[in-house]
């Protein structure tokens, strides 16, 4: 009754198995070779450094499925099915062998039990997963912008996995029933699933049992071999590519943006700047498209998607993958670029790309570590090169070029916020803030890089002055480059104007080299990010929350306990938190003030963007709501009366949101520095 011992239409079992195996492996190899073919056309991307870190990531995120539990039910189901998949892989191999030699799959009672218990759990999980999809229809599975639903693929896969379990159970169970009369003395291993099948098959004739036994085997076999080839043709390609994708993940800091091309640092020598067609993406980004599981977690965390802009990060991956499959089909010839719809512009619209604030919530949520910000920046680079910049962004960008700030205010007013100073740098007016303007050759302990918001926006100037006074209270020596400073270029770079970014950065670096300082500090996380990641300064760069925390620890900064029993909450700025992993310093400062602090639902690395990135203050595409208003509602939900920010954009957006949602009087926004200043012990 063993499959290997039978003949099928004249073909002996092992021969049939050999043919099937050869066909399957052959087809699989062919499909994989085609898929890899596109990867080889992609731009270079160095990903084989720091092998130790990569292995660790593979272990934790890949095998450990560390990102799955964020969605508890789906996460648990997935982890279980994934673990089951690994455990049952041995069974799958041995069952294939069973087609060549009877008894191949018998490797001991221990594994037999282990396998069977696992199979039962997996079967149950599959059924739960199917029912859950049908009954609860979780919103994130159906993207607002999806034109073709790939949803049916989920049912196919879950169904096939379930079928594998059932087929194996029938194979085992039928044998159990058939051999029930023999060898009663042997101890039977505990096989709950197989036993369950056996009990259903009990009483059938031996002929039927034999047919079922063979059927169970060949169905399992067939499904497995079909599965192998189906994976790289569907969204479940991730089963094969996910682990490599995690291993090859981006190890540079989240806030750092990739250079336009790794193999050509000179912008002027590039034909195409950024990404115009599929082949302009790096090979790793193309692998990302293959690895997208269409789970929707990225879009579920995306503030732009949440507020109704045309952007859905997941759709970028799915559309690019569909384009890859269509232009580089497994069967058929490659579709040349001029016969394709424009990837950037038509398939992915300009508006989708401009709607991103680069907050990074999508990357933080993705279980297989797909990168988004770099891709969007690359596509924006192409748009900028073509001149396709929205009119509302052209003016601030032109102003950044001519005057070093997006407001178009004169460069010689950049240092005005400091207040009147006498020649020796001492303040003349009483409401000065202890910050000096540093001429070339001057020195200070801290170089305060204000960036454009703090220098020109009257509301944010207050924050800068407050911080100045805090540092003065700590006896620190602070200076600023005043009119020699220009915008850090952080936003401009992420908008894709790499040439302008380089110009701004070089101007700042030259000005910095003319002054001496121990450390750079800034109240703007965007400036903090760019100076830290890309300016390559010799001196350390710190955000003002970090400086204050450090000064408190050193005893240089003393704050009295705030006499305020309102409920406070801290809004993590994207570029301090997610992109630079700093969640503790601001909380340390708040703790020192003895305030009642609660955490919002989405805090720390899940913080919801205020809508400040990508010069959103100047550009607003279509959206149904403002991100700031959504955030303010989240604050209200946890009963917060004061929202503490550590970023000028967050401050502006949240203050605006409080006004537009009529919460003036019931909620206040304040910067960490202003809060500290109020509590300064002189």
């Amino acid at each position: 009754m063993n499959p290997a011992d039978h003949s099928y239409l004249g073909l002996p079992g092992p021969a049939l198995q050999a043919v099937l195996l050869a066909m399957s492996l052959g087809l699989f190899s062919f499909i994989m070779w085609k898929r890899i073919g596109l990867l080889r056309l992609g731009a270079p991307d160095p990903r084989l450094d720091r092998i130790g870190t990569r292995l660790r990531k593979l272990l934790v995120v890949g095998f450990g499925q560390s990102r799955q539990p964020r969605y508890l039910v789906a996460g648990t189901l997935h982890i279980t099915i994934f673990a089951g998949f690994l455990i049952l892989s041995v069974r799958s191999v041995t069952l294939i062998g069973e087609g060549f030699r009877a008894g191949f799959s018998d490797i001991g009672a221990g594994y037999a039990t282990f396998k069977d218990v696992t199979a039962l759990i997996v079967l149950v999980c599959c059924l739960v997963a199917i029912l859950r999809r049908l009954a609860f229809r979780p919103a994130r599975y159906h993207d607002r912008y999806a034109r073709d639903s790939h949803g049916h693929e989920a049912y196919i896969i879950l169904g096939l996995i379930a079928l594998l379990m059932v087929a194996d159970a029938v194979f085992e169970g039928s044998a159990m029933v058939a051999g029930a009369g023999e060898a009663q003395g042997d101890a039977h291993p505990f096989l709950p699933l197989a036993s369950g099948a056996a009990s259903l098959l009990d009483g059938l004739s031996s002929g039927t049992l034999e047919t079922l036994h063979l059927a169970g085997f060949w169905v399992h076999n067939g499904v497995l071999l079909f599965f192998l080839c189906y994976l790289p043709l569907s969204k479940h390609f991730h089963v094969i590519t996910a682990l490599p994708n995690v291993f090859l993940a981006n190890l540079t800091p989240a806030g750092k943006v990739k250079p336009p091309r790794f193999d050509q640092p000179d912008l002027d020598k590039l034909d195409v700047l950024g990404v115009k067609t599929l082949e302009d993406f790096t090979w790793k980004h193309i692998l990302d498209f293959y690895s997208c599981t269409d789970c929707g977690r990225c879009s579920d965390h995306c503030p732009a998607y949440f507020t109704g802009t045309p952007l859905s990060p997941r759709m970028i991956s799915i559309k690019c993958r569909d384009e890859a499959y269509a232009s580089y089909p497994v069967f058929g010839s490659v579709r040349p670029v001029d016969q394709r719809q424009a990837l950037v512009g038509k398939t992915i619209s300009d508006e989708e790309l401009w709607a991103c604030t680069t907050c990074g919530a999508c990357e933080e949520a993705c279980p297989v570590l797909i990168e988004y910000v770099d891709k969007i920046v690359d596509m924006r680079r192409f748009l900028v090169d073509e001149g396709r910049v929205p009119a509302s962004l052209q003016k601030p960008m032109a102003d950044l070029e001519k005057r070093g700030n997006p407001y178009g205010k004169p460069a010689r007013r950049r240092g005005d916020w400091i207040g009147e100073q006498s020649k020796s740098g001492e303040e003349v007016t009483g409401d000065g803030c202890g910050v000096r303007a540093l001429a070339p050759g001057d020195e200070a302990e801290y170089l305060f890089f204000t960036d454009s918001c703090a220098a020109y926006d009257p509301r944010i100037q207050e924050t800068a002055r407050a911080f100045g006074r805090v540092l003065r209270g700590a006896g620190a020596n602070v200076g600023t480059m005043a009119n020699d400073e220009v915008d850090s270029g952080h936003e401009v770079r992420r908008l894709g104007e790499e040439g302008l970014y380089e110009q701004l950065r070089d101007t700042n670096i030259t000005a910095m080299r003319q002054r001496s300082f121990d450390c750079v500090v800034t109240t703007d996380p965007h400036a903090f990010n760019e100076l830290t990641q890309s300016y390559e300064l010799g001196q350390p760069v710190q955000h003002h929350s970090q400086v204050m925390a450090q000064l408190i620890r050193e005893g240089r900064l003393r704050l009295r306990t705030a006499a305020d029993d309102r409920v406070y909450t801290f809004h993590d700025p994207c570029y301090l938190g997610r992109h630079n992993d700093e969640y503790d310093a601001p909380r340390e400062v708040l703790e020192g003030l003895g305030l009642k602090v609660v955490e919002m639902e989405r805090s720390k690395n899940r913080s919801f963007c205020c809508g400040g990135g990508s010069l959103y203050l100047f550009y607003e595409g279509e959206s149904e709501r403002r991100m700031g208003e959504v955030r303010v509602e989240m604050a209200e939900k946890v009963g917060a009366e004061v929202v503490v920010t550590a970023c000028p954009f967050c401050l502006i957006n949240l203050e605006d949101a409080i006004k537009t949602t009529g919460r003036e009087g019931s909620m206040e926004v304040i910067d960490l520095a202003e809060l500290a200043e109020r509590s300064l012990i002189e």
Binding site: G387, A398, R403, G408, P410, E497, L500, E502
Partner: protein, 262 residues
């Protein structure tokens, strides 16, 4: 199709504090930023769009000093095929007539189907050079065009007329069109884009090259002479109006009318 676009480099005064120079006839230059006249930018974009749609050759022309080359490079970066720089101290101080005269000489000997200019420039704010140039070339013109399409040798335009209305008009080429803002969405010119055209040669023409009698251009030849420029007097901060509703509104209406509010 041959298109000529006339462009001008003007100071960008939006955030600057303006100071009149001691000679009383020009602005203090030190803090001024310059850029292409906004209306002219729309004209360049219109020309390049026509080129992309129907295949045309676009030439950008300016009159100005060395710095004016910037606006020509910008036009090239946007897609113009060539540029022409009319540069000569003889042109300094030209009034609209002098400018139109020089442009006329530069253009008259060339073959062209369409001349595009901005409707008005932000510095002199006359809006007349286009019309003068058209009269000198003896070609028809239409001003303040908000939409433009070309079919064969006819252009169909929408242009602004009084009462907030627009008129649809057909005009045979060759013709001159002055362009209103909002005609299109001018493309952005990136730093890299400018660098890409930095090597292109831009021929320079003096008055002599144009066979222009120097007495027909420049300050001496100007028929409208600027005697002086001055800043209108203004106070600091708002003048707060006090009193009962009736008198306060009355005072406000008075101020509004004086300022040209209605």
């Amino acid at each position: 199709m041959e298109i000529i676009v006339c462009v001008k480099r003007v100071p960008n005064l939006s955030e600057t504090e303006i100071e009149v120079d001691r000679d009383g006839r020009s602005l203090v230059d030190s803090d001024l930023e310059y850029d292409v006249n906004e209306w002219d930018n729309f004209a360049i974009e219109a020309a390049v769009q026509l080129k992309e749609a129907r295949g045309a050759r676009v030439t950008a022309i300016t009159i100005g000093d060395e710095d004016s080359e910037d606006v020509l490079r910008r036009a090239l970066a946007m897609g113009a095929d060539e540029a022409l720089h009319l540069m000569d101290t003889a042109f300094d101080g030209s009034d609209a007539w002098g400018i139109a005269t020089a442009l006329h000489r530069a253009i008259a000997d060339r073959s062209f189907d369409l001349v595009l200019t901005g409707a008005i420039s932000s510095d002199e704010a006359r809006g007349h050079v286009g019309g003068m140039l058209a009269a000198m070339l003896d070609i028809p013109m239409v001003a303040l065009v908000t939409s433009l399409s070309v079919d064969g040798t006819t252009a169909t335009v929408r242009h602004e007329v009084e009462g907030g209305l627009e008129r649809v008009t057909r005009i045979d080429l060759p013709a001159l069109i002055t362009v209103q803002t909002g005609l299109n969405e001018p493309r952005y010119v990136s730093i890299r884009g400018i660098r890409k055209v930095s090597g292109m040669e831009i021929p320079v023409r003096t008055a002599a090259d144009l066979r222009l009698d120097a007495s027909t251009v420049g300050a001496e030849a100007a028929r409208v002479k600027v005697e002086e420029i001055f800043l209108p007097t203004r106070g600091e901060g708002a003048e707060m109006l006090d009193g009962d509703e009736e008198s306060v509104v009355e005072a406000l209406v008075e101020r509004l009318q004086r300022a040209g509010g209605f």
